[in-house]
Symmetry: none
Subunit: 412 residues, 2 copies
């Protein structure tokens, strides 16, 4: 099957936002064995959208659109696509009820223009939006398929996973299964180098590395008509990769770093607390992302001022005066202080220069100290990071959590 991605939205043409939707869909479709030869972006203009559809269907059987499903006037996708396929717009009461329920749930008054979201071209398969009001749809017309998804990525990706994937699976008789191994602590080119033998001899399953922020994801994909065979082949390749990458792999598929850590802590009966300066709450927030965090995560202290470091964590004034807030000494005292005051087995801490200001020749922007209190032992690590304020803080968060994960794995 050949598909094209058609992203609708003037904000894309004006460069207000990056088209992450096209990337997400491309990745998903590639994994599902659907060939994509073109992406197109077009503005909120019915005539141009129709022309783009015409061109797309001259090259492909399936077009997936994103954007233009909201209630406001420049959101015209459904109506325009309906016109393209010569379908009348019909009102869907069930869908209207869902939208009304959504507004009740979030305690807001539904404005009149939201009613337009309950109109669909005749014969459309309606796709539920679990993360917003705008439903999507699928239209089938003489061998052509049009899948219409919302623009906001949080709505689009969930709708794709929940509604489109099952639809596509019915369309093909080939099964494509994939498994993603998630790697932390080494870069993409290093990963590629380490498993180059496996990459070079790949046929089916295939394996492909993707850099994802501080992580590298290795996607193993197998295409067969037999599910068990696919699972077996994937398993075999996974074992080969794991034999080389070892603990650099922190999990797979839906695993998150914070989830893996919380599970390890729970298994070992350990409790954790976090004291943050430069990361300013990001480590705590990341741990709390995991729904079961309350079993192991006791508390976090964002001790941004020196006073807070002293009052909350018993950091010594002499250490602050002598070494400065950004120092291994203070990082260690913070980690010890939070673990002791929160009565936890493990304390983590960060203190650093996140930038853009505040750097000196001795303590430049990007210098961060990670502090660890681990069952009575106190230690720290100096790291130097690149990038803007947010990136320095984000990398620090991921690095300290990865260090903790590795320590937990070694702690038998």
């Amino acid at each position: 099957m050949k598909a094209e991605i058609l992203c609708i939205g003037t904000e894309l043409l004006l460069g207000n936002i990056v088209n992450t939707n096209a990337q997400y869909l491309s990745e998903q479709l590639a994994a599902a064995g659907v060939s994509v030869y073109y992406h197109t972006v077009v503005g909120d203009n019915p005539e141009r959208v129709k022309k783009a559809l015409e061109i797309a269907y001259s090259r492909a059987d399936m077009v997936i659109t994103t954007g233009g499903l909201g209630p406001t006037q420049d959101d015209l996708s459904k109506k325009t696509i309906g016109e393209f396929f010569n379908r009348e717009m019909v009102f869907n009461q069930e869908c209207m009820n869902e939208i009304e329920k959504y507004f009740k749930r979030i305690n807001r008054t539904m404005t009149k223009n939201n009613e337009s979201q309950a109109y669909f071209p005749e014969g459309a398969i309606i796709l539920k939006n679990s993360n917003g009001t705008a439903p999507g749809m699928i239209l089938e017309d003489e061998g052509k398929v049009c899948i219409v998804l919302p623009g906001p990525p949080v709505e689009m990706t969930l709708m794709y996973e929940n509604e489109v994937v099952p639809y596509l699976q019915e369309k093909t008789d080939e099964i494509i299964l994939s498994k993603t191994l998630k790697v932390m602590g080494i870069g993409e080119s290093k990963v590629e180098e380490m498993i180059s033998d496996i990459i070079n001899k790949q046929t089916n399953p295939t394996i492909a590395p993707y850099a994802k922020g501080a992580e590298v994801h290795l996607r193993i994909t197998c295409k067969t008509s037999n599910k068990e065979e696919a699972l077996e082949k994937i398993e075999k390749m996974e074992q080969e990769v794991r034999a080389i990458l070892g603990d650099n792999i922190y999990g797979c598929d839906d695993d998150t770093l914070e989830g893996v850590i919380c599970k390890l802590l729970e298994e070992k009966g350990l409790k954790i607390a976090v004291a943050e300066s430069c990361t300013g709450g990001m480590i705590s927030a990341k741990l709390v992302n995991h729904p079961g965090a309350s079993a192991v995560f006791m508390e976090g202290a964002v001790t941004y001022s020196n006073e807070a470091k002293m009052n909350r964590l018993n950091v010594r004034k002499e250490s602050l005066d002598k070494y400065g807030a950004v120092s291994s000494q203070v990082a260690e005292e913070m980690a010890k202080g939070i673990a002791e005051t929160a009565k936890c087995d493990i304390g983590l801490s960060t203190t650093g220069v996140a930038g853009p200001g505040g750097g000196t020749p001795e303590k430049p922007v990007g210098l961060v100290y990670l502090g660890f209190y681990y069952r009575g032992n106190v230690f720290s690590q100096e790291i130097r990071l690149n990038g803007d304020r947010l990136k320095v803080r984000d990398r620090t968060t991921k690095m300290i959590l990865d260090r903790l994960r590795r320590a937990l794995l070694k702690d038998k």
Copy 2:
């Protein structure tokens, strides 16, 4: 002038990378007064690249391509575009010298395949690459212009700024200026309803609303030949919009909610501390995003366990027992507790059921209490949110910060 962006690269179609080039160029072209109606992405395939060029030139006078300029076999852009315009490839010695110099500078041996980079279609204007080996080019052909840029963003953006901008300035006499007003606390459809008169009568400047997570951005764009006239017209429309939306607008262009809040706090000489349960550090982390946060933000406490709520914030055991951790009483005690223990004028707190588990009929997932301590006054607000764990926490963070912003504005 009408332009199109044509990004060439199979890695884009496979979803290996996000197309930030299209966004960068769109933003630049909009600012330069060049209208862009379409983006296209095509793989490293000469036939498909030629077809994409044909379609693009049926709609636009200028096509800007990115990608496909490197020395490896799948980089075929220059040759393919030369063929499209029926131009012979000719060797350029000057360019070859530059490439040789580049390799000397980075101390690497030049591989043979780099010679291909010194070949250009006859008549091409060569664009220097200050950040890599692959030069770009401009071809002019019977009113059609083709600007060919490299794929790596660090090379592309520098070449655009240094080589393309001067070229374009000679071509156009129109400028486009825009300003974005940022709205919090009301939804996209509500915003549109409120300013529908302005939207309906818009011509130049235009105004368009975009939903951005919990925010709505209103972009006012003016096209003229005179910069002062454009600024004046934008200013006039901004005043009209502000007269209607008032304090719902928190800032414009590069302003962030946290930045606006930190500035208001600094102006009023107020200090703030935050106690978080369900948001788990997100509010602190967001405030710390602002580089000047240390002047006003003293500390944050992520009191995830009941023990931490009691020990750190003096929340009363009776309140936890009687009302539960998710209650207005506990939210208020948390806000008061963090403000008093951190000696701050303002204390914020959150406690809620972020899900997916933990909900009951009385206290369902999405129920959150926001607590406020504001210069001696204590109060709270109950909110009900939709979406997954992360979204509930993210919305809570933005809502409480917006409430704080509004309180600060009213505090004369």
